[in-house]
Each structure stands twice: as C-alpha cells, then as structure tokens.
Symmetry: C2
Subunit: 309 residues, 2 copies
C-alpha cells in the first residue's frame, strides 16, 4: 500500500484512534502520525506503548503540517476541538472525524473551519466494548463499513479519504448526514439505549440477586450486557446529539412492545408466532449480506466478543 | 466416562435433542439412545444423518424400556406428550425435559405421570440461533449451566441426572421452579421479546429501507437480530407459559426506558452518563464469572455467532 497522506494527526487517542494508528502502520498509509489527547495520563500511556510516531502536548502542535486531521473525541467535544485547532490547520488539509452522529458534528465543527481546508465527516461502523488508548488493534476496521457524509466537499479529497479507509480494510459508502443519523438510530442508537435499559432493570431488581443474573445470564441478556458495557461518555453524547431520530425510533419501539405485551397477556399465540417468523427473515438477510456469521459456537472460544457502535 | 443410563429416549429431535445425542455418543453416557419426532420429515432426516441409535415411529415405542426419557419439545407440547407416553414408561425410569420455563411444564406434565417414575425437570441454558435435527453438536452444553428444578424428586435420581448433565459438559445447579422462571424472565425471556420488538420496528420502518438496515447494521442491532432469529414456536410457548414473570419484567423495563427517554428529551447528560456507568459493572461481572469473554474480535472469524436459549 502506498502513502495516501504524508502526515496524519489523530485528536483523541481512544479505541478508534489507536486502531487507526496501528492500521496505518500495518498498511503504510501515512509517513508520520501525530497524536494528542486531553488527558496527560492517556498521552503518557500512548508514549509508553508507542502509539503515534509523536505524541504532542497540545492539539495545535499535533495538527501543524498535517495533511489529514481526524477528530476522534466524543461527539459532544468535537466543536471545542475544532475551534482550538482551526488557526493551526495547514491550507489544503482534510479534516475528518469518527463520530457516530453526523448532523450534530457538522453543525458543531464546520463553523470553526477556515475556507482553505476540506471537511469530510466520516463514521466507521466498528468498535468493541473496549475503550482507551491501549485497546486498539489494526484489524478493527476490516470488512466494516465506513460511511462518509461529504456534502459539499471537493470530490478529489473525498476520493482520497475513501482510499484511506479502504486501506484500513473498510468498505466505504457515502450518505446524506440526516439519513445517516436516522439509519443509525435504527441499527445502533435505539438498540443501545434498549440494551442499557434492560441491563439496568436486571441490576435494580431486588427479588433477583445480581449474582443470579450474572451467573445464569443466557445469551439474550449476555448480548445486552456486551452492548451496555460501551463507553458512557461516547453514548451520552450520541443520544443527546441524535435526539430526534432516537426518540422517534424509541416511540415506534414502545408501540410495538405494547402490542406484543398485549398478545402475551391475551394469550394470542398466533400474533406472537407471526411476528417472530417475520423477524427471522431479517437475520437471514444480515448473514447473507456478510455482516455476521451463523457459525454455531458464539461465546465459546477466544474469538467471541467485543462490539461495534 | 461410564454409562449413566443404559437406555435414553429423546422425544422431539430438534437442536437441543440432537446436541444431547452427539454429546452422549462423544462421552459414552448411554448404551442406546432412541428418538421420536412428530414430523415424518424430521424422523427421516434423523435416520439419514445417524441421529439416534434407533428412530421410532411413535413416542410409545421410543420410551419403552428407557431409563431416562427427555422431553425436548416446545413447552406448549409437553403436556400432550407426557399423556401419550405415560402408559409406556418403565417403572423406576427418570423423566426430564429441557423446557425454558419450569412451573408451566411441571403443571402440564406431572399430573400424567405414574407414581412409579421420577420426574426431574431440567433446563440447559444453551442453544444457538439454529434449529432442527441437523443443527446439533456435541459441545453445545460445554461450560453452560443446566438448572434442575427437582422439587420432591428422589435425591439419588437427582444426583444421577446431575452426573448425566455434567457428563455432557454442563455446570449443574438446582433451583425452585418459580425462582427459575423469574430469573430467566430477567436474563432471557424479556431480553428476547425486546430484541424481537426492535427487529420488527426496523423491518416496519418505511423511511429506512430493509437493505440499509441490513447493510449498515452495527453490532447493537446485529446482536438483536441474532436473538430474534430463534425458533418462533419455542418462543411463543415460552412467553405464553411464563406470562406473569415476563410481563412484570417488561413493566419494569418500560418504566426505566421512559425515564431514559425523558433524560434524552431534556438533555440530562448526567443521568445518562450515570446510568451507563452502572450497567458497565454488570458486564464486568459476567466476564469475571466466565460466562463470556471480552476478546475484541467479535463477529469476525468463523468463531463468532449462535445463541443460547
């Protein structure tokens, strides 16, 4: 793989940024990668484990001379970071991000950026339940989608960022920011809130000890806890910044749940059976689309967990 | 491993029964295993793939002379099967089952059984999203819990069934039937209904194409679809026969969900952050209890899916 951006700056050094770094090193996509994290402890860890060619003590230093700057901070922190780095950006640089919400990020970041840079928002649909600078690995993005929401960005620069993400192993597609936020509300944001809720209910339940919940957690609940172990700050920001779409989907969810609860209460087995038969088909579609596997040993060996946002 | 029951009869030849058969063969727990399934097609498949030493054309034939009879049919069919086999049971035999609900199974089965047999209900917390006679594999129960709800059963016979399940690789515990049903409502039944609901919502949503949902399904939703691909008949019966506990937990779930929705609407980030931090701890407990792993490559290789009852 040849170099796509000579110098890349990663702002925020968590799970996604550290995976990007190891991926860039593995595939030779950049000559030099600088990094910055707000926390001194994170910068220290990064230096210890060799994360980034150069860890800087300010975001301004990290972005200086960078051809690509990627904002890898929680969605709620993107605006402040953009404001801080804006005066130090190299003319002609591409600015991107990895936020799970796109409209709010665009609104927070774009006003701060000078005319001379290219803003191409991105969202890699990847991640595990891990977080922090030591949790990244080069293969995180392999065969995962990365969605770009470039709007008015220059086509040449968009194509370059596409090549970059393909170099990290991703499949890349483009989408309108609002559509992205709705699709992700359905496929990711609402499911996460629901998983968080169910795990919270189990924890609260005085009549069932936490020990029983943990010990006898069948896969239903175990999958939920995996989802609900994701980074709290990241997810708080996702819900607050994709509020409308998330609340809309949750409203639809509640309607459906009430209909199924009524069917249970009334003993309407046909309704339940029909519903469960229909949902099976979607699963088959996902397996056929190559987004998951139906190999029957989930949760067994060393190869069996983690989660994507 | 030595023989524990000379002859074992499996009534119903789906995912659990076929896994039990291959497990018994692998560990030499039984001399002969007979099997019966209501559907001629299933019996035909079983004969073709060598599932059971002898596939019988009636449940009566299958249980004749059996030292252990295991009912592996959906919970709603247990009563009728018990009634059919009762006159043919060998005195001193142990009757067990693998149903996900225990109180309803006991109420449906026990009245039909003669005094001369031992009834020891059981529930292996294992399974994948697969179903049918060809889907079983010997390792399904390895390191999974099997919960027995023996009530007044003879201690010697309970101990024997414990050894049998340990021989299949399970960890075994005993529990009161009502407590089992409540614990499972929290850890399995309610999470399944919620997953079914969310997948149904995604399917219904006119503004998002099914293709987008499938293609861009991040792990949150992908885990839900795996859960929601489970056998519709089995799950209809679970919900109808564990109605009270399931509805109670769903009621608590809805309360919590509304509180989180309100926090999102009002922009109460602290409430969300605190909640998400609390749920993270449960996940750590499950990993520490050895019920799952936090290896970071979930959904990647060949070793990454399936689901438990």
């Amino acid at each position: 793989m040849s170099v796509i951006y000579q110098r890349v700056a990663l702002i925020g050094l968590g799970h996604i940024a550290s995976s990007m770094f190891w991926g860039m090193k593995a595939s030779g996509l950049a000559d030099e990668v600088t990094g910055y994290a707000r926390s001194a402890e994170t910068r220290e860890t990064a230096r210890e484990i060799g994360l980034c060619d150069r860890v800087c003590d300010s975001a301004a230093d990290a972005v200086e001379g960078a051809d690509l700057v990627v904002l890898c901070v929680p969605v709620g922190a993107m605006g402040a970071v953009a404001r801080d780095i804006a005066p130090h950006l190299k003319p002609g640089a591409t600015i991107s991000d990895v936020g799970s919400v796109k409209r709010a990020v665009i609104e927070a970041v774009e006003p701060h950026l000078p005319e001379s840079v290219h803003f191409v928002p991105a969202h890699p649909l990847a991640g595990t339940e891990q977080s922090g600078p030591a949790s990244g690995f080069a293969e995180l993005f392999h065969n995962r989608w990365c969605l770009l929401t470039p709007a008015r960005a220059d086509a040449t620069e968009v194509a370059k960022l596409r090549r970059f993400w393909k170099g990290l192993g991703s499949k890349v597609d483009e989408m309108d920011a609002d559509r992205h936020d709705l699709v992700l509300a359905v496929t990711s944001h609402a499911p996460h809130l629901i998983a968080y809720t169910m795990v919270g209910v189990a924890d609260d339940l005085q009549r069932v000890t936490e020990n029983e919940v943990i010990q006898f957690s069948a896969t239903g609940f175990r999958d939920f806890t995996r989802i609900a172990a994701s980074d709290p700050t990241m997810w708080r920001d996702v819900f607050l910044s994709n509020k409308d779409a998330t609340l809309e989907i949750l409203g639809r969810f509640t309607e459906e749940l009430f209909a199924l609860q009524r069917a249970i209460r009334q003993g309407d087995g046909d309704h339940l059976h029909d519903y469960f038969t229909r949902t099976r088909a979607i699963r088959r579609g996902i397996i056929e689309a190559g987004q998951d596997t139906d190999a029957p040993n989930f949760g067994r060996g060393a190869h069996s967990t983690g989660r994507a946002e």
